[in-house]
Amino acid sequence: MKKILMILTILTGLFATGWLLAEEPAATPAVCGVAAEPAPAAINTGDTAWILMSTALVMMMTAPGLAMFYGGLVRRKNVLSTMMQSFFLLGLISVQWILWGYSLSFGPDIGHFIGSLKWFALSGVGSAPNPDYAGTIPHNLFMIYQMMFAVITPALITGAFAERIKFSTFAVFSLLWATLVYDPVCHWVWGTGGWLKTMGALDFAGGTVVHISSGISALVFALMIGKRKNYPARPVAPHNMVFTLLGAALLWFGWFGFNAGSALGANELAVTAFIATNTAAATAALVWLFLDWLVIGKPTALGGASGAVAGLVAVTPAAGFVTPMGALGIGILVALVCYLFVSVLKHKFGYDDSLDAFGVHGVGGTVGALATGLFATKMVNAAGNNGLFYGNASLLWTQAIGVIATMAYAAAVTFVLLKILDKVMGLRVKEEEELIGLDITQHKETAYTLVD
């Protein structure tokens, strides 16, 4: 009953907002109107075409990309629950972002820490380019492009608590986390006035904002929710590796929108980022396969996929600042480090980061952020900076500050959130529900029938 009331309230709230704001454009005639407004800065159609497409690509990374990648890795009885988490976030964060997320992240700066609510419900976010962010595409295109980053980031965390989370808790956590962790960190790094941006930390497409913030939160979550029943005594084999490979390939495909799209135009920088992205993914996949060959005697398909994703993660902050050979170096580096974490250290420490959200995104993002401090060069991007290998040690230092600050902040807020949610709603399903599986107990569905 309480639940029903709660839901009704939310529904009514949404309704009201919808209605109310449907009336509002009168108040902001100049911003929403395409025709009404004499576009001051001209929009470049080529740049716009590429960012429209990139937005679609990044959307596709969450679902089906990540949904299939993660879905294949869990057991048959939990696949829908896992996929649905990604799918649900696409809905939830899309609305959150439009209402307040974008404003908090990119709105007018408050104390270098967060954006104001001035752009609530996209008020003031119209077609005219915002030269602070992207001078040649509509401001609201920049907004929705960034939305897809806000969507995928909490989706990455779902890998840490797969197969045991309560759906309702997950929903509430994600909304709070997006608002309290993602939006501020995004503002620090990319928002005009954000303190890390001002300091000169480089994060081309979200190594810190997306991967480190989610990765470290995943670790905290994994520790606080505890291990899956019978883990690690009974290892969980991926129930459908084909889905996982399909997901990995779609992630690679979508990542071109993620990284090359971050050039915010169809320009030389986009091409640079595109090449770096592909090179790092390819290299890391190869190195991971070689490591598999060395360590367990055979190259594994999951190894290839994991390596590719790790490479993509690590090159994310660097993509627009490094040469192809720099990307190759990053690919090698991240494969070595992530392999160590995922295949060795995790088992030493004994936490159950079920699908390696921390091991790949947290660790890979950190490697990438620091590697940017090594491999970045102004020859590739004059708007960037030189890294250690190009004679500038200070960048590495700045990068490290970004990493540490993000880690500390995200971990702390996640910790507090989970403490509270644990009290109020509980994090885990009941043990019996976990054994029976989340699909049937949390969603009243099963993924596969057994007889026709």
Binding site: I436, E445, L450
Partner: protein
């Protein structure tokens, strides 16, 4: 020799396997089945249509044992598989006339273990 067939809850498989190991019953054959019994499954719902759930996922164990192990086996299974709720399953015991080990050609109670 007997052939013991047990139908259990899928999520109890791990525990049953462990308990059988403890009872030194190492050899068995496992398969997926669908059970139709007293248990009303958690109803599945697809676009408002309720699936009566009258076929519920179960796991079947087949274990061939020498006569003296029959009781141990049944106890082990019962112990681990029991939750006390409908749907826990059944154990059936059949007489096993003969048994061969393909690898060696052995037969009878030697072949069984």
């Amino acid at each position: 020799m007997k052939l013991i067939i047990a139908i259990i809850q899928p999520h109890k498989l791990d525990e049953v396997m462990d308990e059988l190991e403890k009872a030194e019953i190492h050899l068995k054959t496992v398969s997926n089945v669908l059970g139709c019994g007293r248990q009303k499954g958690v109803t599945e719902v697809y676009r408002g249509v309720k699936e009566a759930g009258n076929l519920i996922k179960k796991v079947k164990l087949e274990i061939a044992v020498n006569d003296k192990f029959v009781e141990t086996t049944i106890k082990a299974i019962s112990k681990a598989a029991k939750t006390g709720q409908t749907g826990d399953g059944k154990i059936f015991v059949l007489d096993l006339e003969e048994c061969y080990r393909i690898r060696t050609g052995e037969k009878g109670s030697e072949a069984i273990g």
